[in-house]
Structures are given as structure tokens and as C-alpha cells.
């Protein structure tokens, strides 16, 4: 009899205690982030879409078309062709196929001039066709981005996305 009552009380008390816990959780803030309206702050060095950086003084691409990023890319998604000799050498066209990119950051690390960057915060890359994920040179420096490894935040406003031009896919296939 005594044991029966003690077990009964124990059960009742445990229900009260667990209800206290659920009540506390009822009034904690929900962890959900309401995505399109609010977005999570990305880590400073999150690897996102590539941009080609621009030299602030000359307002020109830093890229010298040395082809090192294209060679180191394990997914073989970077294609470019240069023109000009010596210091005047610049890419004629530069295409990154983001269908293939595996976000390894090797192209950024290997670049001798910090001319390519992935610290851009552009992660909303969805498109309605595969060609819309193929980015050409105009798209990749359209925002005037110049993020570097040391100062990844862009003054030009992160998250600005220019739509890729129509000819982007054709260029990729040609290369």
C-alpha cells in the first residue's frame, strides 16, 4: 500500500516536472530562421560564388590569365583564354561552370594576384537551366567586387547578383 502510494506520487511528480520543462521551452525563442525574409549571417570565409576581383586604382581586372586556377581545378570547371604579352596580359574570356564546381577554394589559394575570390556571400544560385549556372567574365566582375583573403567583406554590398548573360553557356561549350 505504501509502495503503491509512493509510486503514484512519483509518477505524478515526474509528470509535473516534465511539464515544467515543456513550459519553459514554450517560451524560449524558436530557432527557425524565416528564410526569404530573414537570412542567417554567413561565416566570414564561407565559400560561395566566385568573383573576379578588380584593382581599385586602375579599375581593371587583376587577373593575368596565367591559367593556374584552370590547371589546379579538380573539377575542371574553369576555362579561360588570355591575350596580350607581359604585364598587359589580360583574359579575353573567362568562364566558370558552377554545375561542376565543388567549392574547394583551390583556385583562390593558387592565384598569385588574389584575382579570384570565393568570399562573396552569394549563395542563392538557383536557376531554371544548367546554362544559368555557367558564369562568364562580365557576370563575375559585374558588381565591382574586390574581396581579398584578408578583408573578405565587400563595400559594394554583398548579395548583389547580376543575371548571367545569354551567351554564357555557348562560351563554356566552346572551351
Amino acid at each position: 500500500m505504501w509502495r503503491y502510494l509512493r509510486e503514484l506520487w512519483g509518477g505524478f511528480w515526474s509528470i509535473i516536472l516534465s511539464m515544467q520543462i515543456t513550459l519553459r521551452y514554450l517560451f524560449t525563442r524558436a530557432v527557425t530562421v524565416q528564410y526569404p525574409e530573414e537570412k542567417r549571417q554567413l561565416p566570414v570565409r564561407a565559400l560561395t560564388r566566385h568573383v573576379l576581383t578588380i584593382d581599385l586604382d586602375s579599375k581593371e581586372l587583376k587577373c593575368t590569365a596565367c591559367d593556374m586556377c584552370a590547371r589546379i581545378c579538380p573539377a575542371n570547371c574553369i576555362h579561360l583564354e588570355g591575350e596580350g604579352k607581359g604585364k598587359a596580359r589580360r583574359p579575353k574570356w573567362f568562364v566558370i561552370d558552377h554545375n561542376l564546381c565543388m567549392y574547394c577554394n583551390l583556385c583562390v589559394e593558387v592565384c598569385p594576384f588574389d584575382a579570384i575570390s570565393m568570399y562573396t556571400g552569394m549563395y542563392e544560385l538557383g536557376g531554371f537551366s544548367r546554362t544559368s549556372l555557367v558564369y562568364d567574365m562580365e557576370t563575375m566582375h559585374a558588381d565591382g567586387f574586390y574581396p581579398t583573403i584578408m578583408s573578405p567583406r565587400s563595400p559594394a554590398g554583398a548579395g548583389v547578383k547580376a543575371p548571367p548573360p545569354a551567351g554564357a553557356g555557348k562560351q563554356a561549350r566552346k572551351a
Partner: protein, 342 residues
């Protein structure tokens, strides 16, 4: 309030008598109006409850729940769901027992609806103040299980049949402590009429005098309405959905409506018998009644998202070995004290 209502009804009857129409017509019209009001109330409160339950469950799990439909915190979610359910195709399985299958949700809903007759929303705000109110509620509330058995049997589905059998076992077991726990307050009042019970709690709510009876009643009420932790008739992990596996669209919506209507009924009776019904300071009586009832409903939802489902044998243990002795102990002590003090 009751005087105005009675006068209106009397004038209505007189009007028809003047036109020479038989007396049954105006009475039927009045009944129809009252039933429509009740069905409207049930629908609105069920829709609110579904939304509320989703919100509470979400916040207990640190989520938001419905946030999109209707703008402010997804308030129109249940309206959208209701419209969707009404527009869906009405599927009746070929192997089902057609008339039983079709009738089952109606029986469940009719039982849930009939119990609203004795709920006193305020002084005079009661459909019919029966002198056997509590007895009527007990009788009607156990009618729900008939509809559930019909649904389980008519579906011709093993999960549905199992769910219905479990529901029958559960309802029969929990009916006993439920009734016995309600006898305590009835002994104190000396009447089964719900209005008289509320009026007897002018100075002291019966939850103070009968805490054991309240706890027993509330536990049994949760079990009667087939809700967690006693929802083994529709245990999703074992029985898919229990007795309403084969139901879809509008018929499923009626089952859903009946479940929430039942929840409201048992909480309303708990408010009437233990929490002083419509009595309270400042606010109007009907608001007090709804506030108390919705608080109990909140406790029910809160309990649902706190406790895990019990096993079948545990369910029977709780009913016969714990709740019934407690209810009888409470009844014995109450009877003794009433006999000593009167």
C-alpha cells in the same frame, strides 16, 4: 438574458399560432436555429483549437508552426486546411461496408454535438438545463465510441479494426473512473443539473474540495477523447492512423471536427463541475467560462507534447489499478463527510 430569450421564443410561437400553423413547425425552427449556432460555434472553436495546438506544439519544440497563410502567424491555416479537405474527392473503398462507412462520421459528430446541450456557457446561456445534465453528458459522451467502432468495422481494414477495438476497450475502461469521479461533486451539490452545480460553487470552486476527483476526471477525459498520452486507438507508429485510416476529405474533416468538439466538451464539463463554471469577477460570465475552458484545453495540449504514448497494458493498468481506486476513495471520503456534516 434568459427572460429576453424566453420572451422572444414565446412571441415566435405565438406568431405561428396566429397564422394557424401546427405547433411543431415553430419548435422545429427554433431547434434548427439553436443547432446551427452550436455547429457554427463548434466549427470556429475547432478551427481555432487546431491552429492553437499547432502553434503550441511548434513553440514547445522551439519552432514557429504555421506562419504564412493569412499573414499574421498563419491564423488562416485551419480555414485553408478545411477548404482543402472539403474540396477533396470523396473516396469510399470498394470493400468497405458502405452504409456503415458513410454513417460512422455522422454518428461520431452527432454524439459530440449532442453533448453541447448541457454546457452552461453563462447564466441562462444553456440550450436546455436538464435536471439530469451530468448523467446525460456521461451517456452521450460514451456514444462516440459507437461511431468509432462503426468506422473501424466499416472500413474493412485491419488497422482500422484494431484501432476501433482498442478505442472500445479504452472507452469502456475509462468511463468507469470518469463517472465515479463526477459523483463526488454531485454528492456535494445534491443535483445533476449543470446550472445548479455552477451555482453551488458561489464561494468555493470544487477543485479545492475535490482535487483528487478533478485529477481523475481530467486524466479520464484525456483518455476519452483519444489524445496523447492515451491515443493508442490512432497510434501512428503502430496503426497508421487507427480507425480513420480509410477516411479522407470531408468525412475525415468531420472526424477531426468531432475530436476537437469532444475535447471542448470534456473541458467545458470540467470547468462546470470543478472550476466554478461561468463565475468570476469583472469579465462577463460567458468570457470567464471560455477562458477557463480554453485554459484546460491548453493544459491538454501541453500534456500531449510532454508525455509519450502509453502501451496498451499500461493503459489498462492506469485505468483499473490507479484511477478507479482513487476515484472510489474520493467518493467514499466525500460521502462520509457529506453524511457527517449534514
Amino acid at each position: 438574458m434568459p427572460q429576453i430569450r424566453e420572451e422572444l421564443v414565446a412571441r415566435f410561437y405565438a406568431l405561428f399560432e396566429g397564422w394557424g400553423i401546427p405547433w411543431i413547425v415553430p419548435r422545429l425552427v427554433v431547434m434548427l436555429v439553436v443547432v446551427s449556432i452550436i455547429i457554427l460555434f463548434i466549427s470556429v472553436s475547432a478551427m481555432f483549437l487546431i491552429w492553437w495546438e499547432r502553434k503550441i506544439s511548434a513553440h514547445i519544440q522551439a519552432r514557429f508552426g504555421p506562419m504564412r497563410v493569412g499573414g499574421w502567424h498563419g491564423w488562416a491555416q485551419s480555414i485553408a486546411d478545411g477548404v482543402k479537405l472539403l474540396l477533396k474527392e470523396d473516396i469510399i473503398p470498394t470493400q468497405a461496408d458502405r452504409p456503415v462507412f458513410i454513417l460512422a462520421p455522422m454518428v461520431v459528430f452527432a454524439a459530440a454535438l449532442a453533448a453541447y446541450v448541457v454546457i452552461p456557457f453563462g447564466p441562462g446561456l444553456i440550450v436546455e438545463d436538464l435536471n439530469i445534465g451530468i448523467l446525460y453528458f456521461i451517456a452521450i459522451s460514451s456514444l462516440t465510441v459507437l461511431g468509432i467502432i462503426m468506422a473501424g468495422w466499416g472500413s474493412n481494414n485491419k488497422y482500422a479494426a484494431l484501432g476501433a477495438l482498442r478505442s472500445a476497450a479504452q472507452a469502456v475502461s475509462y468511463e468507469v473512473p470518469l463517472v465515479v469521479s463526477l459523483i463526488g461533486p454531485v454528492l456535494l451539490v445534491g443535483s445533476l443539473s449543470t446550472t445548479k452545480i455552477v451555482e453551488a460553487q458561489r464561494y468555493l470552486w470544487f477543485i479545492v474540495l475535490q482535487p483528487l476527483a478533478f485529477l481523475t476526471y481530467f486524466t479520464c477525459a484525456v483518455a476519452e477523447t483519444n489524445r496523447l498520452p492515451f491515443d493508442i486507438p490512432e497510434a501512428e507508429s503502430e496503426l497508421v492512423a487507427g480507425f480513420h485510416v480509410e477516411y479522407s476529405g470531408m468525412r475525415f474533416a468531420i472526424f477531426f471536427l468531432a475530436e476537437y468538439a469532444n475535447m471542448f466538451t470534456v473541458c467545458a464539463i470540467a470547468t462546470t463541475v470543478f472550476l466554478g463554471g461561468w463565475r468570476g469577477p469583472l469579465l462577463p460570465p460567458w468570457l470567464w467560462f471560455l477562458l477557463k475552458t480554453y485554459f484546460l484545453l491548453f493544459v491538454m495540449i501541453w500534456l500531449r507534447w510532454t508525455l509519450a504514448r502509453v502501451r496498451v497494458d499500461q493503459l489498462m493498468n492506469v485505468a483499473w489499478k490507479i484511477l478507479l481506486p482513487l476515484a472510489f476513495a474520493n467518493l467514499g471520503i466525500t460521502g462520509l463527510l457529506v453524511w457527517v456534516f449534514s
